[in-house]
Symmetry: C2
Subunit: 423 residues, 2 copies
């Protein structure tokens, strides 16, 4: 094989990543397209391709259309060279999947769960669901390359540990990465809104949008921030934690679990919606919600959504009010960050259009006209799968980063062993 | 000279920029240090250095300390190869300077001015002050390379035109760049808070801080946002426009010039402080302010600062209140963006410590503990010169960007002509 060492210093791994990235992003390519796109010489491209073909990350594909002479051979990224295990742990759900190295989901499983059951219970169940998905996706050609986990709270990305997560009792400082060490592959853990933002950036509405914000409205409220095509994690890894921004003109003095008053989450999160809906039902302000409460003993966002869809004025107003609170905070973000796209996702967002309409109305009223001139505010497009898709994107981003790829190529060892050195 | 064309494609200009950047950042360097820092071969470094020495952007300097064999010759960036004209236009001031290509300020002039006098008056005065500074800095070895202007309002960076700037009547859409076309060098125009953030990043507290926010508190209130070492301008170039974020729990229904209520600027900007101070004086709540008002006919931030320094309780409370409002908005930014540093600058910030103390208290109370764990909130360090220093940094960043530098090196023409093609 062409040895990395035969290329000039840093240019080796960086050049490999550039060539690999281009083929990964486009699915297939040709030598000429690579020469044009990278500005490298034909010789440099050929050397790099040779290394990547030898390591079976690329394969020769079909003949491309001839542009005069002999038809060129295409190159394609071998997503099947390996697979990933990914999980999106929500406050009330577990979503797991097996993905290939291109990020394509090969098998998917989801079920309700309570994150407050703690890491032992939840992660054991995730492992079981991994097994189910692996069985469903079998036979898998490649090895396991990596694991990606999203959790509904702040995470120190370097260590993969949740840090004082308000809605995850028992998880503070839990070594999630070490919990999966027996797989002998690297494990990355991040906040769920970050992971979902990556999902929308990779495969959803955010594709090609260099600066955007994904807002997750569920039990918790959080955001993932993409700046110049990369996730912005911030100094402590807690960028996007908008659930505890104080809502303008709330004045309700609702005490949040963080200890402050009138935090966005305390007024517009899933628990707040449930609380306000049950109050409305008990106080006789909605016969529709009252009936649902009597039947089920409790209410959730989907009950309110159904009521709103049936024209229940109180339920419409509950979403409108939540939307005004979210919109007030998002308006500030729009003024500060001036994104071109805001994607609204999470269980709350899927509950109905009233919430989205109210968010839009508030943002367009409260942000500067220049900042909203071309601003699009849209519901998430991946139907709730942005978490697992994003977790796979997180893992492939890390696996194919220059440093990591260089170490693997230099090691000349099987993937698993090179990876294990990092775990 | 070593021709750029003799290097491989894109590697030419990019490699040149990398070598030039390293020497610019460090002031001086050696061939060995460059080989180590860039990962390029000695031959590649030598080729790139030769091109930069030929074009007189670098010069051979003193002998460095020997590390065994012959003492290596240092290389230094020739800041004196050219000069820049820069201006920081405030709501109530003009600051201009002549800088060299390293960004060092060679001559500086400042005077009060009213931005509302319009672009013809203000820019004509800036030109006169440029002449004064050029005379003061004479003799200048190099040619004029570029012009940089900061203005107190949103700017479309690509065209260099102010866009609906609230406190700049007469400037909307004004072609600032074209106004300086007769200099036959490129002109860059940006919002003043952006420019000040660049100044603090280049030469002040923000040096080496990859993610930070500069908050300017003056007549207007704005912010400059540095992400991964680069200014974040946003989709429409208006990122950082925090003056029109609605203040939490204000509830005062103060109408802002933007048409909304309770915007930060309407409650804590220079005009608001003046208004509140004059109200307090007239209503007999401060004998100190009353005396100052009687003497001068009006009050400004420095009057309130002097009163506060003398223990006038009303004036202390005016700053504390402004600080709570700014702090409330900054707390939201800290939760969303998780910077490691907030620099507070502008005329209001220089007026006294009470404002800064109140901002800090509010942010530490209202932001998540994780986000403030290592957060530093500090007054600007450049004594009000961050505007002109930042404007010079903006120009050198653009001049030495790969595309621009490549065009100049390829053209083989004198600097001015290559530049003029861009104006």
């Amino acid at each position: 094989m062409a040895k990395v060492g035969s290329m000039e210093g840093r240019d080796g791994a960086a050049g490999l990543v550039e060539v690999l990235d281009y083929v990964r992003r486009h699915g297939t390519s040709t030598r000429s397209a690579l020469v044009e796109a990278t500005g490298l010489s034909r010789m440099s491209v050929a050397q790099r391709l040779s290394a990547l073909l030898d390591r079976e990350l690329l394969a020769e594909g079909d003949l491309a259309r001839s542009t005069g002479g002999r038809a060129p051979r295409t190159l394609r990224f071998r997503g099947e060279a390996g697979h990933l295990l990914v999980a999106d742990l929500g406050a009330t759900s577990i979503d797991v999947a097996v993905a290939d190295l291109s990020g394509a989901i090969l098998a998917h499983a989801a079920e309700p769960a309570d994150i407050a059951d703690g890491p032992d219970v939840i992660l054991a169940r995730a492992e079981e669901l991994f097994e189910d998905c692996l069985a469903e996706a079998a036979p898998l050609a490649g090895e396991l390359w990596g694991i990606g986990i999203g959790v509904p709270g702040p995470v120190e990305f370097e260590s993969g540990r949740p840090v004082t997560p308000p809605i995850m009792p028992g998880w503070n400082g839990y070594p999630v990465r070490e919990r999966f060490a027996h797989h002998r592959v690297p494990v990355w853990v991040d906040n769920d809104a970050n992971v979902m933002a990556l999902g929308e950036y990779t495969a959803g509405l955010g594709r090609g949008t260099e600066n955007f914000v994904y807002v997750k409205i569920g039990t918790g409220i959080g955001a993932g921030v993409i700046v110049r095509g990369k996730l912005h994690r911030g100094a402590q890894g807690c960028a996007g934690d908008i659930g505890h921004i104080q809502v303008p003109v709330a004045g309700r003095d609702v005490i949040c679990r963080c200890g402050n008053v009138d935090c966005l989450e305390a007024l517009a999160g899933g628990a707040a919606l449930r609380r306000d809906a049950e109050d409305a039902a008990r106080e006789g302000r909605s016969t529709f919600l009252r009936a649902a409460l009597d039947e089920n003993g409790s209410l959730d966002a989907s009950d309110v959504a159904i009521a709103a869809a049936h024209g229940d004025v109180t339920s419409v107003e509950l979403f409108a009010s939540a939307g005004r609170h979210v919109g007030g905070v998002v308006a500030g973000i729009v003024n500060f960050f001036n994104p071109s796209l805001i994607v609204i996702g999470g269980g709350g967002a899927r509950a109905g259009d009233h919430l989205l309409a109210s968010i839009r109305e508030t943002v367009y009223r409260r942000s500067l006209p220049l900042a909203t001139r071309n601003l699009v505010i849209h519901g998430a497009q991946l139907g709730g799968q942005e978490g697992v898709i994003g977790a796979a994107a997180m893992v492939t981003n890390e696996l194919f980063a220059p440093d990591f790829l260089a170490r693997w190529l230099d090691a000349g060892t099987p993937v698993g062993q090179a990876h294990a050195a990092r775990v």
